[in-house]
């Protein structure tokens, strides 16, 4: 492509990266100290669940049920992790979770840029009105649809398959469409014009010119879609009834099936589920923060 190969720098998706005016610049030291104390206490509160999960995962049942609770495992029971993954068919559930997450993520990565392109880079009459419908559908509670959706999927014989969860992802998600559209709107129109003059059709412009520039935005969609699918609860609960099809979210209930719940194993399994999300966050923090603040200033 002869067109605009120079544009490497992604256009501003980055509200977070912009140097920010600090209204309280130059305030006296004690003031920052107060804020800092508040921030530290709040941060400890927000991180407490993670610590307590890991702490409980490493205790034996006897230590876990002691009061007062021990603040760290005095007798670390690392074997809990081994027991946790053998106590229930953890491997099967994990595989199902991975398949679901992969499917939803691929669907989201393909559909949302395509749809958002049609709502941003092409001017057609009624576009903004129709996009208003897309935005309004963000505010539709999903549970309103579950009864009818279940019946529809049952008639398609899709129950106990992953299709009811994966297939809709290939038809776009209003929040992701909004996110991608915000990005596309920020790209100058000249780069498309030039390619069109060179004889590219619209799909070629999309695929060869716009998409290479849109990698950061697609990354945001991929990350959000993956995290969302990994934690999805209601949809698999509805559509998957055969135990061998359960993802981890539903399968974890099994730790509490008997009279005595094995909370340490439950916490060990939860740690294994939470860990990839934490790792993803630490690796791609910037994308998360940018994704959440897209369109924020517009309110």
């Amino acid at each position: 492509m002869a067109v605009a190969p120079k544009i490497r720098e992604a256009p501003p998706l980055a509200i977070a990266r912009r140097p920010s005016p600090r209204p309280w610049r130059g305030v006296s030291f004690p003031k920052t100290l107060g804020a800092r104390l508040g921030l530290i206490v709040a941060a400890l509160l927000f991180l407490l669940p993670f610590y307590w999960m890991a702490n409980s995962a490493l205790k034996n049942l006897q230590e876990l049920s002691a009061f007062p609770p021990t603040l760290w495992p005095h007798v670390p029971a690392f074997e809990n992790f081994v027991r946790a993954v053998t106590y229930i068919p953890f491997g099967t559930f994990l595989l199902n979770s991975v398949i679901l997450t992969t499917g939803v993520t691929i669907g989201s990565a393909i559909s949302n840029p395509l749809i958002a392109y049609g709502f941003s880079r092409i001017k057609w009459p009624g576009r903004d009105f129709v996009f208003g419908i897309v935005l309004a559908s963000i505010f539709l509670p999903f549970p309103v649809l579950i009864v009818a959706l279940f019946d529809i999927f049952a008639k398609l014989h899709w129950i106990d398959t992953f299709l009811p969860i994966i297939v809709p992802a290939f038809f776009g998600n209003p929040f992701f469409i909004f996110l991608m559209r915000q990005f596309f709107m920020g790209l100058p129109s000249e780069i498309s014009e030039q390619a069109r003059i060179d004889g590219a059709n619209e799909f070629q412009v999309f695929l060869r010119i716009i998409m290479p520039l849109a990698k950061p935005a697609v990354a945001v969609v991929i990350i959000f879609a993956a995290v969302q699918a990994w934690g999805e609860f209601l949809a698999p609960l509805l559509y998957l009834q055969d135990e061998s099809k359960y993802p981890l979210s539903i399968g974890l209930q099994f730790y509490r099936q008997e009279h005595h719940a094995s909370y340490n194993l439950l916490m060990a399994a939860s740690t294994l589920i939470v860990l990839p999300v934490v790792a993803l966050f630490l690796a791609f923090q910037r994308f998360f923060i940018e994704g959440i603040t897209v369109g924020a200033v517009k309110g």
Binding site: R25, Y117, P143, V144, V147, S270
Partner: protein
């Protein structure tokens, strides 16, 4: 409900048509998906709401029976009450928590990235996993929270076993999701022009006055969005209640939490549809939920003219 948009008769020229034809393949997936997975289910559940239907065989006409039953069903009213109680507490508290976090992060604190990460992280953790952690944290026998309360001589609370506290436990759990909105508020705070504060300081305005007169009005559009979105999420509350009450694995458990205190609207809808095989009644409940969500969103939107500040442009 939603004011019908006035469609002007527009004469499309050839270029317009060409653009529509060009755009159509791009947005076609959304159109198909929206019709198949949103519009059709809404219409279909309206039809089902006027039938008796078990999910098997044919639906039989029921007229208004489902809606009449709803009006007299004490569990329906309790589930609605539980949900509104939860939403009315969790959403405003959530806004206050998010603004407080954002205000603190907006101070000139160098290591702000650490706090940002700490606050945001719980909001991307699967909700079911957070709920499991809460079961351990709030356990009356060995829980950390009651232990800490004990250090301050506050009597232990049976968070998940006492009907007065169960819903509050879920409100507490919801606050762990404040990190996302806090980042949005932080972006809003940083967009406030510094000059406004500087001239306010010159006029002798103290920090509280500056917050009340400058910060709050300027971030009020973000508050509006957060209130509407939070409310719509709030009335959908399901997963924590389902996990806390043991869900399907509870065996003979008939109540959703002590005295049905965790029987939220969607939980009861779910039970009707998938445990009692009363799809007709559940569809009627779904439609009532749809109407409630639209009414609440419009009501908050309406109220915004009295408290949301829009810059004169």
């Amino acid at each position: 409900m939603i004011a019908a948009p006035r469609l002007r008769r527009v004469r499309l020229n050839e270029q317009d048509w060409r653009n529509v034809r060009t755009a159509l393949p791009f947005i076609a997936p959304w159109i198909i998906g929206f019709l198949a997975f949103t519009v059709y289910p809404i219409v279909y559940s309206l039809y089902l709401s006027f039938t008796h239907y078990s999910g098997f065989g044919d639906a039989t006409a029921a007229g208004l029976a489902n809606y009449q039953h709803m009006a007299k069903d004490p569990l329906f009213w309790q589930s609605l009450n539980n949900t509104l109680y939860y939403t009315a507490l969790a959403v405003p508290i959530g806004v206050v928590v998010a603004i407080a976090l954002a205000l603190m992060m907006n101070q000139n604190v160098r290591e702000v990235a650490i706090y940002r990460a700490a606050f945001y992280l719980p909001s991307i953790i699967p909700l079911f996993a957070l709920t499991f952690i809460f079961i351990v944290l709030l356990n009356p026998g060995f829980g950390f929270v009651d232990f800490v309360l004990g250090l301050f001589n506050i009597p232990a609370v049976n968070w998940l076993g006492d009907a007065r506290w169960t819903r509050l436990s879920v409100v507490l759990l919801a606050q762990l999701g404040a990190g996302g909105p806090a980042l949005i508020f932080l972006a809003g705070l940083r967009a406030v022009p510094t000059e406004l504060y500087e001239s306010a300081v010159l006029d002798g305005a103290g920090p509280f006055r500056r917050f009340y007169k400058i910060t709050l009005p300027l971030i009020s559009p973000v508050i509006l969005f957060d209130l509407i979105y939070g409310t719509i999420l709030g009335i959908q509350i399901f997963t924590p209640a389902f996990v806390l009450t043991g869900g399907t694995s509870g065996g003979g458990a008939y109540t959703a939490g002590p005295e049905n205190s965790l029987l939220f609207y969607v939980y009861y809808l779910y039970k009707n549809a998938f445990q009692y095989s009363d799809m007709g009644y559940a569809s009627a409940m779904a439609w009532v939920l749809f109407v409630i969500s639209v009414v609440l969103a419009l009501a908050i939107m309406r109220s915004s003219r009295y408290w949301v500040h829009y810059e004169a442009s």
